[in-house]
Amino acid sequence: MWDEVLVISIKLAVVLGVLLTTVPIMVWVERRGSALIQDRLGPNRVGPFGLLQPVVDAVKLITKENLIPSGVNTLLYVLAPAIALVVALSTFIAVPFAADSGLSLFGHKISGFIVAPDLNIGILYIFAIASLAVYSIVLAGWSSNNKYSLYGGIRASAQSISYELAMTISVVGVLMASSSLMLSDIIEHQTGTVFGLLPAWNVFPQLIGCITFIVAAFAETNRLPFDLPEAEAELVAGYHTEYSSMKFAAFFMSEYVHMTTSSALIVVLFFGGWTLPWVSLPGGWLGAFLSLGIFALKVAFFLWFFVWIRWTLPRFRFDQLMALGWKAMVPLSVLNFLWVGVGMALGWL
């Protein structure tokens, strides 16, 4: 009983630690990466290559005045950033991040490098919790008593509903192919190669589904080119205009945690998770750490992809966003779904 509690606590501590450590690293990558793309220098004064800049940023955010403007709905105003952070941090517990080969810790079986290994509906759990993220934005926008914030909140709710549909339908193909809702089974399905060369990753047979999923993931994390709720050129700072200090930091951190979870999901669903197609990993702790490294590298690539896209593409107009969501994303994801169904019925997939 108690050793089980201990193992789960250690898993939670590791996952939370890693998730919260990626935030400052990603802030640094974002600032230096944007400078690289725009041919600037970026922050380079604090520490080597400006690596300590996020620490300085954090100190600034913590020591800033924690302001509650007059006329706000205090309960919802304080609740909104809390919801943002809770939702962002609780999605990752269903993500398997390393190979399990029957290892044990303190005489207790680890049963997978995943916090909640017995969750049969892992992917649905992630979608369920992630679908609540929009409440933080909508409530922040509504409670701030500011018309720009309100516009940000309205945009967030419309955008979230439109893109969640395409996201869910594009995942159905993957679930059909592996006939399971458990993320570890989905990774299991993608091990090895087809035709002796090509990795058996879902991205190859389901390219359309992969693209619609990645686009919808951008929209759900409110990253450019889909950051209409924030849209600093039109709405000051959108839904978090009235927030300062750590309440603002909570929104900021949750965006980066969502990016990490989305990247991990893209890797698990379409790029084989912690497996490599051409080599079989050794068992034991060595294999576990190697697979963890592979997973981290793949996730790191997609995190860079998020930054890369942000500083490359301009923002959509809102009508373009809605047209893309309903007239392109939803039909394309249904097409992928039909293709997987037909392919499975004819025995191709």
Binding site: I121, L124, Y125, A128, W142, S157, S160, I161, L181
Partner: protein
């Protein structure tokens, strides 16, 4: 034992928050209370071994439909709900009678439907999609397809009402 405790706590929370959802004057608080009601119901499903229903409850109701409610409230910028129905005793009486009738029917039906070995799902099917899939596409296939038809009809109706007059 744990199942009973979790069930009663979740059920009590569901009742309390549904009362708040009806009675509070702030529309956003109403919607948020409804979110918590759905969370309590998801907890009840999960403790009965129906993880799939719990997740769907949150995805569909909390994640989509109530967001739509909030969207409408914000679009119309409703700050306070006016008290309605004052001075209409007949309607209030009829409403209360209907509510009591539906409640009694539900309690009666639930007591008739209760399975012999308890409602908690155990064994290999616990927490999986299998029982739901079997029920929907097996024994209840006709009702399932009929509801799909109903939804399509509703969509066509909505599109017809929302179309632009081309003159």
């Amino acid at each position: 034992m744990v199942v009973q405790v979790v069930f009663f706590v979740a059920a009590a929370l569901a009742v309390i928050f549904s009362l708040i959802a009806v009675a509070h004057r702030n529309p956003v608080i109403n919607v948020l209370s409804l979110v918590l009601v759905f969370f309590a119901m998801a907890t009840i499903f999960a403790v009965l071994g129906m993880d799939f229903l719990a997740a769907i409850q949150i995805i569909v109701y909390s994640g989509a439909i109530l967001v739509l409610f909030l969207f409408v409230i914000m679009l119309l910028n409703i700050r306070k709900v006016e008290r309605i129905g004052g001075g209409r005793p007949l309607q209030a009486l009829l409403g209360a009678a209907t509510a009591i009738g539906i409640g009694a029917a539900l309690v009666l039906g639930a007591s008739k439907l209760a399975p012999a070995g308890g409602a908690v799902l155990t064994g290999a099917e616990r927490g999986t999609v299998v029982p739901i899939g079997r029920a929907l596409l097996g024994s209840h296939l006709f009702a399932f397809e009929f509801i799909s038809l109903l939804l399509v009809a509703a969509i066509i109706g909505a599109v017809y009402l929302a179309r632009r007059e081309s003159r």
